[in-house]
Subunit: 512 residues, 4 copies
């Protein structure tokens, strides 16, 4: 976890395995490696000869699976699992995935990482046709679309459904005979396929989960692809040709684990390069570099290496912070009572320090860090942020829903510096970010979604568009319209109702 | 937490505050900063106008205090608290501290960090006189001694009792009118006194707990001292003049938090110096330095700085490891399923790496780390340990009870290297350790207990002695006898039954 | 509870209130009075200005609502609730009612007492049209039918749905504006409407629940009726004219609480009359009458009164039997270890006793009672059963699913007597039962369903028919066909697929 | 349970078994039959070859032992157990029995039913000698006395200790080699010895617990006796010759189960005789007799038999009342919302009813019953109480601690009648009570303690005396002094400090 970005939450991690006698236990370990993607709920469903068995609950994986029998009861040689961050108002047990649907023609389990931009209108339309929903989750919509499709095979029904939902999604399904993964046309969320030594196949949100179960990565699932795994092996088909990679840049900046590789780029190395680039873009005379633990340690190492300054441990993070129910009163907070971070006085006392962090959201945490270091005796505090200013919300699966909560949406860098009390403040440039990550896909920004920084959303915003446009300043609205025009050759498929045109640089023919 | 040393457990952390309206909440935060000292039980007792109120339970602090009312019910402006590691066979709720004793002449709460060497014989003697014990804890013995003393005041009763118990201990008591701390004659465990802005006094196992509540350190409690805090302030008295500092060197190597200072020495800085010294003592041609997260990152930084090698993040620790109930089967383990640590392939692939860790206990974790790195493609793995080989058990509060479980007790360095599969292995020298820590007390080893490394125990072992001597090789027995002779001028006080003579370099007159 | 009939379970109790500021608390007390109808799950949903809020869980009401806030959070002036017995394989939390369905056009809560005979085929048909079910419950089917109806108003949709489901049911719905109750065309389950002093309306499975909240009974809901309660009052409409009362005779014999009145007949008084009639039909020379506590005490009083024998307390029931997780081993059972019932030795020793019980299911409990009394010294034990032999399963909401488990289905009275070890055994005649209850509706058996005794099912059995007929002996099949013929003038409505003709004596015109 | 007497609580039930492979399971069933004696805590300790293993918790037995393994872990062929009612201020887990004491010379488990009159002064004296108490329980005092005794054998230590404690007590101990029971010199509490078919011995508070495990009663333990059970059989010794039976009359009136026999008198039969006598003493012209369920049903049967009136079920008790956390608000209570009892309207409407109850404590429940019946339409309500007016507290183990809470202590019968609103009210006479129970011991009141009715306490009140005398009116003090004089030939043993002389009619020589 970082400091400021702890306030922003990834919504999910998914993991599945097909073809291993310990399938549910492996899924447990895979999810354990993905716990950073969601801490508020977890579940696993196994396939015991076609009979799907599930166990799910609120809290950390270790809380949900608190007894050996919670795993041993999940018999069978295939399983899928999910860890989730519960968005506001949807915290109940009913929303914990994977969902299990039981039909007279067989059970299906389903889970999901992402967010659909046309979910509200799809729910409304389905309800009008008699559908009954049992959760607030976007996930359930897909199953209703699948079940209502008149196509003959599950795969064809699924293809139709995937062409109807918009936004960011990585789905994982488990049926009697197959495990199926599917990615949205922009590939906002990562999803990798791997193989274990015994031949079992694994699908996981991040490669760190493949590593943890000893699986070797075969390849990343790409935009618009469906991967079907069964006893005969795996095959990959496309459900749309209108694809263009726009993987979430936040995965590299903050969410993903440093040991994960995304499209061949190691996350730790990308972060280190961000720090190196930042040292070139915004050097400062100082005595040491300090990374905010844990997620900014990589960037700090890079900044230190390029600047020639020593990389010191000037901030300590309490490892036991998660889920504290007892909070300091306001009075105690004013008296200096703090829980998450401590400054190491004997390291920083009298020193000019450069502090590396990965982002500033509201600014309150950064202000807290500057204050901590100054109280510990730091002579100067120079804040360096290894990503550009965060100005726009995400609609594809990250819980930043309004611009109002983003300090950079309304304040200049100098105003932010003043607010947080640092002696200097600098952000990494957008070019610096894109080049540090170093994806080289034939797509805008090398294949990254950088909408949080410049508003250049790669898809129509559908049900969210009206409110989003209303939240913008006239200037911003104009600027975003210009972005859209520049990428106006992106063609929409039949299911989309385009309001903001999207990029079309990477259109490929349907082959699925 | 380190890697190998996770297998060794500190037994406790203690914290108390006198004179603050939020006493129990502050104690919660103080204990939270000490959670690394014990994760299996926690408790807080507050003083509500002489009426002691307690709350305690098994598990992490956040599990024991899972509801705001768990704190708000602990009214009053003084409180003491405890986090504990439960030693084998004593895991029940009955052993969770602080204990509250209710007498017709007032309540007393008591908690304890350490281990008494003469506890079994004291219990036996007390039982023979009609005492009834309700826990397995060493802590209860002190209260029986206090209550049976014929002295008139609590302070005098306590002095007598403290002269009767032997070994390592830091006690914390709470009565209607006072909070009292007491340290053993060797000061094996750290204990610091601080003051808050509002004038409240705080006693804590480590200074990081003072920092977290915004208290300023006044001074460390020293061997043989009793500190009494009440509404009029604090005063320090001695209960024995036969004292000599022998603070546990493991506190610096592994247990204490890096931001804590012990007798003025910052723990992070001491660890960094260990790494620097190790780079001088045992250099190696390599491409990078990797610290085993989290506790060896400081030493790695030191090694990197002196060696001129880059300090890389080649190992990642899963932050959610604590308390996993589900374990990989042996078969899965052989298939490479692992949970705690991951190697970052893209960092280490093809590289010659120096791995810094703080200790080797059984050797299994080190072997696992070497294997992880080699599987990730490391060309060479050079293990460097920032402390000397661990050969002897501790009898003063750390859970290393037999030499059998220590690989260095029976194997040479070369045999250990072979066992763990490293390309080279080197330990820090004992001199290197003592000088890196840099305590300069007028006592053997500068005031450190280094018995784990060389068997030079600073006190008689009392009830443990017979079994310990039996476990040694004849050579070792001879060598240890020689140690004892060298320090033979250490005089025993009337209560001790000396079997192995102890150091007496630092004898001071009783003044309490 | 009775002795043998404890093995047979009612499936549910329902309760609702409209127009009281303490609606959820009243519902709690109402359900508390209905707890005997279901002990394995409970739930309440309240209407807080159109926003439905629910709380439900497994176990007794007092376990599900274990905290004052479980009730206070259920705000609003209307609420419905449910207690349930979980049939095999459907014990999960997902099946606890009331269900809450959330639609863009408003929330609906629904609960149910009964069993649908065409549920499996309806589920299959609905799934084929894309419906997704989330429980195993019959209840959910109704909501799918309602939501898929093309009628315009909820009432019309509901009418259509009620005409599509077959079997025994009492539904209770809660919407933003209304509370709605509905009864099947045969009125298998009781449902009463009452009014509180403040004008609030109450619907409850039994009148004892009206009494407990101080409500006055207005009238029983009758077969085929829908009752709509809203802020303007209540009105009753019919959704079918093809109705005929066949209320479950077991309600009188065993299920209902003695203080309840059903169609004007008090349950205790009916039971007492059964005992009186039994004394006339099957007198015996004896010293005393003993009722099996608690449900046969009424019948025992009646038998004693007519026979002139003293009514003694010879059997004691342990009041704390519910939910014991620890069971005697077979060996202990053979040694005489028993938990539920005890014989009072000093009462029965040397005496000839008449034991009154309400039914014999498998015969094992009766055998146990006889054995208990003989071991306690009873000279003779004469068993008298206040209902006819139980031979056929129920398909309308009572958990007797196969004839195999019924001893009277395969054994003669003499064989049963021998099996249970009594000195004599007699059952009440069917005529005796019908006349003792004394309903005087213009319908077969005075308006009672007595199919458990003679197989005369008042409706088609739909999905259950094939298996049921297969379980019968040829003679029984013939006899049942004859029954059907006798009542062949009963006309089916358009939705029914008649296989066994039903009675039609009580057809009334549709007026809803 | 009765109505009014539910407000008065027995403090405990005890059960033990020696010599059965299923000892802990049998103890569970034995305690289950004694659950009516205490519902707030339970525990069992088994003897696994000298190693005592315990399990205990708050709540009903079924809550404390909620899992099969809670019993299976309690291995061994001997066990003792306890159910308790927690008196005010002592509700914590620390007070749940049996207590296990672990000594270097072996474990001892101990539990207790009763109350010591000199407990406060004994605790004080023991503390002054260094004893540390861990509970508020009277039970622990005995163990401190035993451990401090200088006698050589456990039996001699125990004898000394039993002569030091005063009041009412039935102790049960378990050691490596023996199970020991002991009764106070007045035998206030019942305790019976039985034998199972396999030869195992059982000790239990009531014979109903012997019956439930199939044990045959050998004999009741008598005042001043110790019973020792071991592998060789049992033997009974005396620890004092100054004994005189004064068994609590409340055991017959209310506490004991109707199927229990105490000193050969069956409880149900005694209650029935009380009702018969009451019909003779206080007849009334009426239409029916109604017993308040459950404990007054026996008396009602007796009243009905003698009066020739029908015995009707006019009041129904909800079987699921235990442990309701949700309570009606005052407003709801006024609207008639009620939970425990219901009147059966169709039975009582227009009728003149005689209601039998066993006691009146505060009068509020009786008033509630009268009101219930009148609201249900009863023409007249005549209350008949099958015991004399309750005027004085108990100091031997029943929770009636002050006279203030007893309505009969301050009001005349006519005033009480007016308060409860009955048309007439009559109590059983004291002679009637004594004769109905029909114990014929050579001791005052035939061997009963009737102090609740007339203040004639059979022992000194020790630490309670001062407050008790202060609570009395001058007249009452005088009258009680006269009682004491009449029985002045009762000699005190050396340990007693006599203030109110006690009866001595039944002195027997020490033979233990």
């Amino acid at each position: 976890m970082s400091a400021e970005l702890e306030e922003i939450h990834e919504e999910c991690g998914i993991f599945g395995v097909w073809g291993h006698p310990d399938a549910s236990r492996l899924t447990y370990f895979g999810l354990h490696a993905l716990q950073h993607r969601g801490q508020e709920g977890a579940g696993i469903v196994s396939n015991d000869h076609g009979n799907l068995i599930g166990h799910r609950g609120l809290g950390l994986l270790t809380q949900v699976f608190s007894d050996e029998k919670d795993i041993t009861k999940l018999k069978g040689d295939a399983a899928i699992g999910h860890v989730r961050y519960a968005t506001a108002g949807s915290g109940g047990l009913d929303n914990i995935q994977p969902f299990v649907f039981r039909f007279h023609d067989g059970d299906i389990a389903l889970c999901h990482n992402g967010n659909l931009t046309n979910c509200p209108s799809l729910r409304r339309a389905l309800e009008d046709e008699g559908a009954i929903f049992h959760s607030n989750s976007d996930t359930e919509v897909l199953m209703h679309l699948v079940r209502r499709s008149v196509r003959k095979t599950l795969l064809d029904k699924l293809r139709e459904a995937l062409n109807t939902v918009h936004g960011g999604f990585a789905y994982l399904l488990l049926t009697e005979n197959e495990m199926i993964g599917a990615l949205d046309p922009n590939g906002f969320r990562p999803l990798s396929l791997g193989r274990m030594k015994n031949g079992a196949y694994v699908l996981a949100s991040e490669t760190c989960a493949l590593d943890v179960v000893g699986a070797e990565r075969i390849r990343d699932i790409r935009p618009g692809e469906i991967v079907i795994v069964n006893d005969e092996g795996y095959r990959i088909v496309r459900y749309t040709g209108l694809t263009q990679l726009s993987i979430c840049s936040m995965e590299f900046i903050y969410f993903a684990r440093p040991d994960s590789d995304i499209y061949g780029v190691n996350v730790h190395s990308a972060r280190k390069r961000m720090g190196m680039r930042l040292a070139q873009e915004s050097p400062v005379e100082a005595d040491m570099v300090i990374g905010v633990p844990n997620s900014s340690l990589s960037a700090a190492a890079g900044y230190a290496e390029v600047s020639g300054l020593p990389n010191e441990m000037g901030l300590i993070k309490n490892q036991y912070v998660a889920r504290t129910f007892i909070q300091p009163t306001q009075e105690l907070r004013e008296q200096g009572v703090r829980m998450k971070l401590s400054a190491v006085k004997s390291v920083v006392k009298g020193k000019r320090v450069v502090v590396l962090d990965d982002s500033i959201v509201r600014g309150t945490t950064s202000r807290h860090i500057v204050q901590l270091l100054k109280e510990a005796g730091a002579a100067e505090v120079h804040m360096r942020i290894s990503s550009p200013p965060l100005k726009y919300p995400c609609f594809y699966g990250i819980d930043i829903s309004t611009t109002q909560e983003l300090i950079a949406a309304t304040k200049s860098v100098e105003e932010i510096r003043e607010f947080i009390g640092a002696d200097s403040l600098a952000y990494l440039s957008l070019d610096g970010l894109v080049e540090s990550i170093g994806l080289h896909e034939d797509a805008p920004y090398g294949g990254l979604c950088v909408a949080y920084f410049n508003g250049d959303y790669p898809t129509a915003l559908d049900d969210y568009e009206e409110d989003f446009l209303a939240s913008l300043s006239p200037d911003d609205r104009l600027r975003l319209a210009r972005f859209a025009e520049e990428h106006s050759d992106y063609m929409d498929n039949e299911f989309h109702t385009v309001q903001i045109p999207r990029h079309a640089a990477n259109i490929v023919p349907v082959d699925g």
